[in-house]
Amino acid sequence: MIPAAVDAIRNAHILAVDDELANLQLISRLLATDGYTHVTTMMDPREILPLVLEREPDLILLDLHMPHLNGFMVLELLQTWISEDNHIPIIVLTADATSDARKRALHAGATDFLTKPFDTLEVLLRVRNHLQTRFLHQAARSRSVALEGQLATILSSVEEVLWSATPEGQLTFVSDAVAAITGRPASEFLGRDACFGDIVLPEDWRELAGWPERASWEGRFDEEYRIRRADGEIRWIRTRCLIVRDAAGFLKGIDGIAQDVTDRRHLSEERALRAAQEEVDRAKTEMVSIVSHELRTPLASFLGFSELLLMEDVSPDEQRLWITTIHEEAIRLSALVDDLLDLSRIEAGEVVLSQQPSQLSEIVERSLRAFDSTGDGARLAWGLREDVPDVIANPDKIGQVVTNLVSNALKYSPDGGPVTVSLMRPADETVRLSVTDAGLGIPEDEISRLFQRFHRVNTPERGEIPGTGLGLYICKQLIELHGGRIWVESAGPGHGSTFSFELPAAPVLAARGAHG
């Protein structure tokens, strides 16, 4: 035993309680022989509680059979009043050597039990052992209090919320930082969902529900979602957690960190907004450049051929060829102007379609016939042609879409390959038209951007395909105005592509008409 510890033990405060003065004197002398200087004796057990509470003894020597309050009752009283983690050893000294008394005393909270007449050396050794245990216990307790204090200091200085939860995701611990983030005290969360499920916005909770199973299945968890603070404000929370398993691999619990990432989210939203604005600006610049390019080509023809026509000795054949070219370019220019007008009306939300029950196959026939005069008619063929119900549509606009898809298909099948048009009824209320070519095909990364405004296909073989990049965008807008959808499928470059759109079928009554 080290000297300092010996001193602590010698200075220990020992309380001896016995109704017989002779016994108390005997004990005092005995303790004095071993160097104990701080011994309090007491004859009336009724005084024990005030003394214990006021001047906490380090050890109590207690007689069992006393008037007013016997030793068992004293033990029970002390057990009630002394907190569990404040370990005060109580040694019962009694002449009652029955095993019943021993069991009762130990059960009532006695630490040790010695029967009279006792071996003085044994008493002293036991006193010393119990005191030693108490001081070790005290030292451990103060160290753990200090650690708890340090931990609390650390936790309170950490903005992130640290928590522990059961495998089912119920909080067993949550740091006070939760109050700053949620506006609610930590105590409100104990036993509740560790992702603060009680205050997560319902639409975000739909994604989050069942997270403990997912987290333990995947071994990790990192999600961002929104909560509503006590003051009603909505904040973004990021929660990451770690699955804790015991040595045998069984799920022991979940530890996690939650932080408020609202500022970062807002910042990135701002950045996204700015990027979107820049994209719009870029698209505008691009539009000016594309439109001017597309306008310049026909203009170059007008200017050039008219100047040539004004020259002398132009042969009639040349004249005819040049005027025909001017005419064709004028048609192209007029189509471009139409596209631009469509674009500006669509973007301004000004397109009002007069719609009527129409037969899609008739619209398609009309569009296809227009290709006969260009010499491409022979490449066009009907594929599957199912009997389909009418659609409610504006025939001109749908015809425009069909023409656009077919002329694209012809244009992008450079070897004069066939183009197939199919009419289908994939569902009762849906009519589908598909235009399939065996041409260039579309690279996978282009498919999602194909219907964007001003987007032009870029292929490794052909570079950027010329054009305004407006046609498919306008098609998409027109089909969507009809409540339909448009998409493209392609097995990749060199494997052709299929453009399809679907329109809702007209209600049967409207299509058949009333009988009278």
């Binding site: 450049s289 001017s292 390019h293 597309e294 310049r296 080509t297 026909p298 203009l299 170059a300 023809s301 007008f302 200017l303 050039g304 051929f305 100047e307 040539l308 020259m311 002398e312 000795d313 040349e318 060829l321 040049w322 070219t325 064709e328 370019e329 073989e461 052909r462 570079g463 950027e464 395909i465 010329p466």
Partner: protein, 139 residues
Amino acid sequence: MVDVPRILIAEDQASLRLLLTATLRRSGWRVTEVSEGQAALRAVAAEQPALLLLDVGLPLLNGYDVCRRLKADPSTSGLKIVLVTARCQPQDKATGLAAGADDYLVKPFSPAQLLAAVRAWLGSGAAGASAGSGGESAP
């Protein structure tokens, strides 16, 4: 009579190709026409033209790339190349010149402008049949 230099026209828009060939042929130049970039490279090798009128937006291989390849090859680097384009932003012109083009003709252009540009590089080598203005040529 001196052999009239040959001019290669690489332009994918049929109407503009016709305009270029008609204008140049009327002025007595010999003309070969192609409609995409790879064909332009083949025609340069086969016909050894004196001048290439090169559209920028060609399929398969665009005009800038055609220009870079020809200027990088010692056997063709002497060929005069005039880029013909509707791209008129300053950076487009910079790209064209960086690719090694000798001149830059912006659409829309008049036949007179075209002929002037051609004469600037080839002299009035086809003056005999010229319907344009006479005589003066750039150094």
